[in-house]
Symmetry: D2
Subunit: 213 residues, 4 copies
């Protein structure tokens, strides 16, 4: 069983992205029958997904868990759905790291409006809560890079009819980030690392039950 974990480089005004650190931790996890690979993705529309899909083609994972930062959230939030849109909004544009600010652009013209994550989100939520870690299913991954990545990966799996479980987990700001900006809700990096380990185990176990291999 191979699990591919992705995270993102820092973006916007933030010099830290806790999902970058999560990748370093994930590489050290020792999980029975689970091989872990990781990839750090650029905060750029389309390119984020292209790099993850290229890595999927090489690494041939059974499970893909894309991870991203949702500063302002209080809990670890598995995303329910990716939607076929790139949009930085009509007000204050929020550019990606190359300065792009798409508005209401479709990711893929010929593809469905939305695609559900195939990770066991409700089970992830339960396992995390059992460990006293705040978790909740989210119904929107937004319309920025995170959603772009989620949608494109699910669409790639759909088009090629692959037996891969895939989805997206949003993590809150780390407590280190909140120390600089105390109005940000946070979880410590160690708690998020502990959570990621449980998420990987839960997804690997679930994938095995659904697909074998």
């Amino acid at each position: 069983m191979k699990v591919l974990i992705s995270g993102f480089e820092p973006f916007g005004k933030m010099s830290i992205n806790p999902t970058e650190k999560l990748l370093l931790e994930a590489e050290r996890f020792s999980l029975e029958n689970v091989e872990i690979e990781t990839i750090l993705l650029p905060v750029q529309y389309d390119k984020c997904a292209e790099e993850l899909i290229k890595k999927m083609a090489e690494a041939q994972p059974d499970v893909v868990i894309a991870c991203g930062l949702a500063a302002g959230r209080t809990a670890i939030t598995p995303e329910r759905i990716g939607i076929n849109i790139k949009d930085t909004g009509s007000g204050d544009p929020y550019p990606d790291n190359r300065g792009n600010t798409p508005m209401d652009e479709v990711i893929d013209e010929q593809s469905p409006d939305g695609l559900f994550s195939t990770l066991p989100n409700r089970l992830i939520e339960k396992k995390l809560k059992d460990l006293q870690i705040p978790a909740a299913i989210s119904n929107s991954a937004g319309t920025f890079i995170c959603n772009n990545t989620l949608y494109a990966v699910l669409n790639y799996i759909r088009k090629h009819n692959l037996a891969i479980s895939a989805g997206f987990i949003h993590f809150p700001a780390s407590t280190e980030m909140s120390a600089r900006n105390p109005s940000l809700p946070s979880l410590p990096q160690e708690v998020m690392t502990q959570a990621l380990k449980v998420i990987i185990e839960t997804c690997a176990h679930h994938h095995y039950h659904c697909f074998g291999s």
Copy 2:
């Protein structure tokens, strides 16, 4: 050109639903070349959509604008997408007016995960802002009755390949509601009425340009 507007009865602990009042106001609008019909929907999973779809079959509208309350929001928010799920969550269940609390239930097994609204959301946002009315596109209509209604109507139109524009507009609490619960952001009922009139005009105009009729 016929436009069908739906609203909801009160739900939860709230004795007021501003969208119920909006229907009464909408019936009095005088708009050139636009005939308005309205329907008040029950806050019940599935039944909400069944009643709206039945009304659509009778009234044969060109445009359907479903309206709902999103207490806590600060602006009028056209919804981008309806998703194929009914879910009152794993924590504090939030029952409908019959006491139902579905969890991760699909609305229609054979249908897509998500369906985009076909109302001109970006144009609605612009027209409202031009009138100094706060507006923003929302990327999640939640997983309760409002999303249920939006998804089911879009799916009905899709299945029957109808030339109907349809979507969902969430309205914030009315200022009257905020007077009882001052931590609630609000807009006055009159402002929401003014907004609905503009939304109808914008949708009718857009439908005419896209479909004629």
Copy 3:
């Protein structure tokens, strides 16, 4: 009976301050036995209060109602207390319109730590709610210009033992401001104008009952 109303010029990144507009409206109020004077104050530490106190010395009002903007609040909030501090915080400094960023500075070394508003705050809250206008007593006017003004005026009245009722009312962003920044809760300028009229009447009536004149 003379009532002095103060408001503020715009500050920070905002080009509008609804309390500046409130002054123009207040000058047009026609209230029996109540003469209204107004003053627009600069968003500068200390100078804000000096100008208001100078105006008090000239105009000899019975009641002083200082008004300010609290962008982010949902209701009209009479302030309970002014505190003897000027502080723009230890993180992101939030300078006044001259660029000053005091930190933990006392307003007046020889004076009390806090002084209660002497406006009839609870009655104001009730009168506004009766008119379906959201209102709530606030327990902190912050540590910026608004609190500086409130504290210094109350302290001036205390030192000189004057028979003047005085306090501070925070107003939310106007709906016009929220149209530019739709995540801001708001009230329409007209609702705030209506509220200010009721606040003046309530304060004048209360002052008359307490002090005569």
Copy 4:
């Protein structure tokens, strides 16, 4: 040097109060030249302060650090001021554990409107941030039990002219609480314990420099 730490029993609908657990941890701290005593206070108006003041008379502490829960906050927040009021508000009353709901009641008729904490709040904030723990000075301890305790203790010290440093620290919900209610911002109990240790050291050191002993 003796430091007295107080915490509270659970209140409202919450079965946990992280400050109760902090007391158990504090009793195990090993700090050079600092003796620690603790007291668990009831969530009852006036009685909260009476019990703490009685304990102060017995234990003769040099420093009093009262601790309370502020569910909803994201950071550890030293309070700047206690105010002379007990108030559960005019809307939804929020009773203490005996069912009392005072409204705009003065704590002590003959005493000042507000009294500043004498703990080194800014230094506490700095020391916590240096350890990557979110911290910020708060300008309102509310008008419930926490403020009641803070004000009454500061007023007792003032009336008797005692050489005691005293103040109040609000802690956010624990991560355990957030696991049950994932929309609550939180910090892990261990982080709050680590913070309390630093707060005690900082206050003891500061007291020694100001007063000797």
